[in-house]
């Protein structure tokens, strides 16, 4: 491929008025080297000023009419990227946890290893924000579960930073989980014969907003993801 690959940077945003502008600006700031990055903000029916803010930013603004949850929002961005001829789509968080400089690193590794999906992992080099103890325990459980089912070791199964090519986008166009999609998506890649691998990245602590997984939600999260992972694997 001689021309610059075009990458849609899908940023799902739900009530992210505090941090969305800096995330979009950071993405636009690294355009012009190996790839052409286009920020695609998917506003998941936010109740704050996210919609007004993204209308003034240099980005593609997709305002969902109803709240679909993180998975539905990311899938909207993937559909946009596929419909508009982008070569790759990368998912990043709107709260500033994912430094966008790593997108080019993900791209390089994906092209080098001939993967369909490159997953950014915090835990390979153990640099940057490492999350809290309980969260890491949950992540270890998911590692074990995914290893059991797919046979692959994924060091950071909840990482939301993922770069995918058009082949992977086409798979996710038709099936992508609504809530907490990360771990389940790994099974979807595996089931559809997509090649994927991990790339060490650094993540930051969130700049604004709160995690969607807290308190009793944690139990629900573990339960839901376990069921989803097992049944996604069993589904014909």
């Amino acid at each position: 491929m001689n021309r610059q690959p075009r990458i849609a940077v899908v940023i799902p945003a739900y009530n992210e008025e505090a941090s969305i502008a800096s995330v979009v600006n950071a993405v636009n700031g690294i355009t012009g080297q190996q790839a052409l990055l286009t920020p695609v903000v998917v506003n998941d029916c936010s109740r704050d000023a996210t919609r007004q803010i993204i209308a003034t930013l240099p980005c593609i603004a997709l305002n969902l009419p109803i709240n679909l949850g993180i998975g539905g929002a990311v899938q909207t961005g993937i559909k946009y990227a596929l419909d508009n001829g982008f070569d790759y789509a990368v998912q990043t968080d709107a709260d500033g946890q994912h430094p966008p400089e790593f997108i080019t690193v993900l791209l390089r590794e994906l092209e080098k290893n001939d993967w369909d999906v490159a997953i950014g992992s915090r835990f390979i080099n153990k640099q940057g924000f490492q999350s809290t103890f309980l969260r890491r325990a949950g992540i270890r459980y998911l590692q074990w579960l995914l290893k059991l089912i797919t046979g692959c070791t994924i060091s950071d199964p909840t990482s939301g930073m993922r770069l995918m090519n058009r082949k992977a986008m086409e798979v996710l166009y038709w099936c992508y989980p609504d809530e907490y999609p990360e771990a389940e998506a790994v099974i979807i890649y595996h089931r559809n014969g997509l090649k994927f691998g991990e790339v060490p990245v650094q993540m930051n602590e969130r700049k604004g907003g709160t995690s969607s997984i807290q308190g009793l939600h944690t139990i629900y999260y573990m339960f839901k993801v376990t069921i989803a992972v097992v049944f996604t694997y069993l589904r014909r």
Partner: protein, 138 residues
């Protein structure tokens, strides 16, 4: 005829009538109404034919024939609730696909309108709907 029979028959008939009303008004889809009408008819039949209930109870080995009604009704409700959950899940999925299509179409439309504002004179005579496909973003 005992008093309880009269009450049971009256209540069942009222229920049946309200189900029919909902269908007539177009508020209830027929496939759902079918379940409700069939179960109501069952209740009416056994309200008239009480010895039939006792016969059935003996056949199933139930001590009090009324328990058979309860067990059957609870089972029917469970099956129906599961069916509703499946229906809701399907609606949930369809809702998602629809809103995604909507937002993508709106983006395309807004982009087209923006480009038309920028070059109003050249494209004035053309059929606006036949503009080149927006697959490559300007």
């Amino acid at each position: 005829m005992e008093r309880i029979q009269v009450v049971a028959i009256a209540a069942s008939l009222l229920f049946l009538a309200s189900v029919m009303m909902q269908i007539m008004k177009g508020k209830l889809r027929e496939e759902y109404a079918l379940v409700w009408m069939l179960s109501t008819c069952g209740l009416i039949v056994f309200s008239f034919w009480r010895s039939g209930l006792e016969l059935l109870g003996q056949a199933f080995g139930v001590f009090a024939p009324l328990n058979l009604i309860f067990a059957g009704a609870i089972m029917a409700i469970l099956i129906y609730l599961l069916h509703l959950s499946v229906a809701v899940s399907k609606l949930h999925y369809q809702n998602r696909v629809l809103s995604q299509e909507l937002v993508l179409l709106r983006e395309k439309l807004e982009r087209k309108e923006r480009t038309r504002v920028q070059e109003p004179i050249e494209s004035a005579g053309e059929e606006p709907l036949l503009a080149p496909d927006g697959n490559d973003r300007g």
